[in-house]
Amino acid sequence: MSASPVFKTDLLGAIPSLRAFAVSLSQNSDKADDLVQETLVKAWDKHASFQPGTNLKAWLFTILRNEFYSQMRKRGREVQDSDGIMTARLAVHPSQHGMLDLKDFRGALEQLPEDQREAIILIGASGFSYEEAAEICNCAVGTIKSRVSRARNRLQEILKISGEAEFGPDAISSQVMGSNAA
């Protein structure tokens, strides 16, 4: 069966999301584009196994994610090593007035383990449900939930936005909860 022009158009439309996910995973834009390219080739080859009407984006994300982890295994965690170097360069400090800078946030995100980073990206940014994210990551919904929660806590720790009651969500919740009113 031939891949239809519709399929091609749909793939084209998914590229921006795929690239964003690939950068989030690999933290490297060159590797990310290689991942996207590999994903498109694989998706084209496997297009017959895609069921029209189901979530194409989730299907593509699954392919991309599998590709990412298999490349990482082949490279012997070289990805992780380069992450370490990047992380050392990007020490994170809370900015003045607590306004979190996007650069700081990127640095913090980079320090997360891959499984937590992908979980929080899928749920918090890519717009997938916990069920869809679990399917993409081939794990239980509860696992995704705990990864997201650990990722969030870790980000808050790194960015030191926890315990500061003067601004941000903490200020709101401490007012509402009537606690932590330092």
Partner: protein, 65 residues
């Protein structure tokens, strides 16, 4: 749900089941980070790649459509 130690980590807990919602700073930054990536200009190589795949698709040569 995980236990949140008060005073250490206190994300928005007031009635919202969504810890990454619009009122959470982490949630907002996450979306900002990602939206920036999504809006990044897509290099031509991807469209070219898909066109090549389309041309090379063996099933297409069988003149069905």
């Amino acid at each position: 749900m995980d236990k949140i130690k008060s005073g250490t980590i206190s994300p928005r807990r007031n009635g919202s089941a969504d810890p990454l919602g619009a009122n959470s700073e982490i949630g907002r930054k996450l979306k900002q980070y990602y939206d920036e990536l999504v809006s990044d200009e897509v290099p031509d190589r991807f469209a070219q790649l898909l066109s090549q795949l389309e041309i090379a698709d063996p099933a297409r040569k069988k003149d069905r459509s």
